[in-house]
């Protein structure tokens, strides 16, 4: 249990704080997360709710000005009414009230990151103090929607001198609202079956009955985070920052649990969608010092992140009995499966960056960074069982030389069965980045960069049991070896020299070198052209390729020749290739590579088809185009349009062959008068992914890896095309009638995904007997759709001087269809498969709220 260690770590921190000279670094745009805290009630954390100044921005100019690109600025908020406390002034707002939900308000999609709950809520508390004399300020901001959805933050500082900020926030994530786990102990590390089911001995009907009787429940994960940060200006133009945050996650989510296939063996195996407990926390530290002078800039930083998981594994009971495929033999009863949790890990990273200003308006920048990701968690035993596992020939479950497929649990259910007790895995990372930019002539700037990045794996693991002399592991909680003889996952040079199994971990060192060269040419005040050539050499180890070279050329154009149009366009040509593709570099991780390995009678089966090109390794060509236009048809109106396309074609007879995405958007913004704002958008995007695969024809024993050979015969080839088409639209209105403010918002999202396939012959199919004919064919899956319509309307009515009443309603309707979950509304147990999550479901839900807003 790690609770003890966690409290020790946290308790020493205040001491560290006191000793450290300066802690600083508020999460800013350069480092760390936590840049924003808000909620679905008001994603703008209060900015949207402020009354705009009815007088506008300036007495000199009506309407709003535009940003250099052409977007209209917003109408500023009314200056606040101030309170005076000695030499401090203060202003703020408190918005509190009640909300009520109705309709399908338990639905996971409706509640996803919001967890609406009927009752009293704190919409917003936001108060600011300022001391004009010396620039000191403080602010508190808070909002509470529910127990799981709330944030509180406070900041105190002096403008330009220092800042201290702290926050606490809880964030919900509803993963499923219709889960029917058959286990007890959801959320803990031990899932046990109810008394109605016998572990390892229940029938499908028993399990189905329990599943049907289980009431639907929610599975969710709550993230709670607390953080504190300091920012400090020091003499001599140095500044220091530090921040510290701890995030806890708690809950449960649908996961898995294998007890071997069910599809080839009716009433056998076990595919269990168990629930994984989430109970962990991550401590993150960022510290740094910066120096900014006229000629030099320096930035030294340290980032640390420490992940601690409460559990090393979780266990679950399996209800099903297994039977062995050898007639007359017995399958040793198995009752428990285990699932390793993520290991506690540590991350350290230090970075130093130097920038020097060069003549010719230039800059030279050097960054060096080194890091380490490590974990040394204790390893769980290869299996959790009592007695024996495997197959007892002739129905005999006594282990011994006469029963070569039967194994003693005592040889395997202990850490003594491992080649080492802890993981001891580590990756060291290093980064060097150099970049230079110069402006040799007026209007011409050139830049270049070099980057070197390396990940070094520092250890490997050999799966070896010193108690038995076996190499390998126990596959699928012992079930595989309890159904098919010789498939338990072990290799032994004496007793099982032809078994092929994984015995080694896969070290994934890598190295990348980037180089780029570019120039920008400002033709005149209206046009800027640019070109960048980039080269990337990626050198992974133990992968299909040792070297992959990416070349790209990007051309850019910025045009402002028409005063009502700002146009930015760019085109990128990409090409990547590398050294010859080796389809099976993984032999060294298998028992094939161990001394004493004897190929089976038919030969060593091929690992995969030779023609497969994994898309992160394959050669590819691509084009990318991106156009953004900001159009100003009227003084009070902006129209933005964008077009984007990314076409990639992979040189892969088998594997991903094409991936294309394209999108177009249109945004319209109209601010006819100060206090009124109307905007609308429409967007459309689509993507196509095309892949090909080939079914093997020789029941797993094929030794010829060639596509078109006897095993990966062309008749078994198939192709799939996944097309996604999305349409989005929305409109927002913000209007004032006298002193009453009306806001309305409508959003529409419609997504449709189609998966169409075709195949060369029936043997490409999982179930060839279902093919209508003997020749090629095709078909499609049902469309996967997602459609959400939401509308919200709110009215803010000023009451007395500082009071206003806000009444709002938010209605959302969702329609979703995901064929993965077809049929789960009627039954979640299908033969030896147990499903927990029913999948996303449609909903109509409404949120109505009445809030009192007080200007403090």
């Amino acid at each position: 249990m790690h609770t003890q260690r966690r409290s020790t770590l946290l308790c020493t921190l205040p001491l560290a704080l006191a000793l450290a000279t300066v802690l600083n670094a508020q999460a800013d745009s350069g480092i760390g997360v936590d840049t924003w805290r808000a909620n679905k009630l008001d994603p703008s954390a209060g900015a949207q709710g402020r009354m705009t100044d009815e007088f506008g921005t300036s007495w000199l100019i009506g309407g709003q000005r535009r940003s250099p690109t052409g977007n209209l600025y917003m109408c500023p908020a009314q200056p606040p009414q101030l309170d005076h406390f000695g030499d401090w002034i203060g202003y703020g707002v408190l918005e509190a009230g009640a909300v009520g939900t109705s309709g399908d308000d338990r639905n996971a999609l409706w509640n996803r990151y919001a967890d609406w709950d009927s009752g009293l809520i704190l919409g917003l508390l936001d108060y600011t103090w300022q001391r004009p004399d010396d620039g000191s300020y403080a602010n508190v901001r808070a909002s509470r929607i529910s127990e799981d959805d709330q944030y509180y933050q406070a900041v105190f500082g002096r403008a330009g001198a220092f800042k201290i900020q702290a926050f606490i926030r809880d964030q919900p994530n509803l993963v499923s609202s219709n889960a029917k786990p058959i286990w007890n102990g959801v959320g803990s590390d031990q899932l046990t079956l109810p008394t109605a089911l016998t572990p390892g001995g229940s029938t499908v009907a028993d399990v189905a009955a329990v599943s049907a009787a289980t009431p639907e429940r929610t599975l969710s994960v709550k993230r709670s985070k607390q953080g504190i940060g300091f920012d400090l200006n020091l003499p001599m133009r140095w500044s220091v920052y530090a921040n510290l945050a701890d995030e806890q996650r708690k809950g449960a989510r649908p996961y898995g649990g294998p007890f071997f296939f069910n599809y080839p063996f009716p009433n056998n195996g076990g595919v269990l969608e168990t629930t994984k407990p989430i109970d962990d926390h991550t401590l993150a530290i960022n510290l740094g010092v910066r120096h900014v002078a006229t000629q030099w800039r320096m930035d030294f930083s340290y980032s640390g992140s420490f992940y601690r998981d409460r559990y090393t594994r979780y266990t679950y009971q399996t209800p099903f009995a297994l039977w062995a495929v050898v007639p007359g033999s017995a399958s040793a009863p198995l009752t428990t499966g285990q699932m390793a949790m993520e290991p506690d890990n540590d991350y350290h990273n230090i970075k130093a960056a130097f920038t020097y200003k060069l003549p010719l308006n230039g800059e030279l920048s050097l960054t060096a960074s080194a890091g380490r990701m490590s974990q040394d968690d204790r390893l769980i035993a290869p299996i959790d069982c009592n007695g024996v596992f495997g197959i007892g020939l002739g129905g005999n479950l006594n282990p011994g030389p006469a029963n070569p497929f039967l194994f003693r649990c005592s040889d395997w259910n202990t850490p003594a069965a491992l080649s080492r007790r802890t993981a001891d895995m580590r990756i060291d990372t290093s980064l060097l980045d150099a970049r230079i930019s110069l402006q040799p002539l007026d209007g011409i700037s050139v830049r270049g960069g070099l980057r070197f990045n390396r990940d070094d794996y520092r250890n490997g693991y050999l799966a070896y049991n010193p108690l038995t002399g076996d190499y390998g592991y126990i596959a699928e909680n012992g079930s595989q070896g309890s159904i098919v003889p010789g498939e338990v996952g072990l290799f032994n040079p004496v007793t099982a020299p032809s078994n092929i199994t994984r015995v080694r971990s896969l070290p994934l060192d890598l190295q990348t070198i980037d180089a780029n060269l570019g120039a920008d040419w400002k033709l005149d005040n209206k046009n800027t052209l640019g070109a960048t050539f980039a080269f990337n050499r990626y050198e992974p180890t133990h992968r299909e390729r040792r070297r992959i070279d990416d070349n790209s050329l990007k051309l850019t154009w910025v045009n402002r020749s028409l005063d009502w149009l700002t146009l930015r366009a760019n085109y990128t040509w990409k090409k990547s290739n590398g050294d010859p593709y080796e389809f099976d570099p993984y032999e060294f991780t298998y028992s094939i590579d161990l001394p004493g390995y004897v190929p089976p009678a038919g030969g060593t089966p091929s690992h995969t088809v030779e023609a497969m090109r994994k898309y992160d390794m394959s050669s590819r060509d691509g084009h990318k185009i991106d156009v953004m236009a900001t159009i100003m048809p009227r003084e009070d109106m902006t129209l933005s349009a964008s077009l984007r396309g990314d076409w990639n074609s992979y040189d892969a007879p088998i594997g991903r062959q094409d991936y294309q995405t394209s999108s177009a958007t249109l945004q319209w913004d109209w601010q006819p008068r100060d206090g009124t704002n109307l905007s609308a958008y429409a967007a459309w995007d689509r993507s196509h992914l095309r892949l090909s695969n080939v079914q093997d024809q020789q029941a797993g024993a094929g030794v010829d890896p060639r596509l078109g050979g006897p095993n990966y015969a062309l008749i078994g080839q198939w192709w799939l095309r996944d097309s996604q088409r999305d349409v989005y639209a929305g409109a927002t209105l913000d209007h004032r009638i006298g002193r009453v403010r009306i806001d309305a918002n409508w959003n529409y999202t419609r997504a449709r995904g189609m998966d169409r396939y075709n195949y060369a012959g029936p043997t490409a199919l999982a179930y060839p007997a279902l093919a209508p004919g003997a020749g090629p064919g095709g078909g499609a899956f049902p469309a996967m759709t997602y459609r959400v319509d939401s509308i919200s309307v709110g009215v803010t009515i000023p009451l007395a001087d500082r009071f206003a009443l806000r009444v709002f309603d938010y209605y959302e309707r969702g329609r979703v269809s995901d064929w993965h979950y077809s049929g789960f509304d009627t039954a979640r147990v299908i033969d030896h498969r147990v499903y927990t999550d029913g999948g996303p479901t449609r909903y109509n839900a409404n949120l109505v709220g009445v809030m009192l807003r007080v200007a403090l």
Binding site: S58, D636, T676, R736
Partner: protein
Amino acid sequence: MKPTLPRALALVVAAVLLGGCASSSLIDLRNPVPVTGNAQAGAQKIELCSACHGKDGSSPVPAFANIGGQKIDYLYWELVEYQRGANPDSPMTAILASLKVSDADLRDLSAYYAAQTPAAPSGDATPFAGGEALFRHGDPARGIAPCQGCHGKAADGRLDSDATRYLAYPSLRGQHSQYLARRLKEFRDKSINLSSNDHIMHSVAHNLDDEAITELAGWLQAATP
């Protein structure tokens, strides 16, 4: 008897809305619709006006403004402001309240006087060199902005620019210094605050002390900028 001017009011409101004003009480002159009127028709209605302001807009009484050759937009919107009670103490308020004038009448009157020849500068400008300095360069020490920025180098209400926001900025040249001084003080006290232009003048006049007002007003009456 209160004049009923439903159409005029409607026009005003429409102009205000089109002009981009949100507050129903504020006259937003930041982007006004240019004012047009029939000067000849206006000539038929100047009986009462000419009693104080003269037939040519040149007022014999220093307390009353010279309005000959003033910008039509400024004249019109000033009349509207008086009509709406911007300056309750001014005789103009009572006069306009007693008259039955339509919005078209106001425009025609404004057109007529705008077409007149402006009054020539009178008096000696030399004692008011300080005023010229303020008009041209302002005074950073006192936070006084140069008036020429908005009122034009020639103090003619920015006739050099066709930007709509300058439409209702008045010409100041040759104006009675007594009238100007009173006006500036009224702005400084924020007693006139019905239009966006009034609001501009609040902060401008805020930094004008009495000495500055005297110098400026004196110079504007006498000088030929």
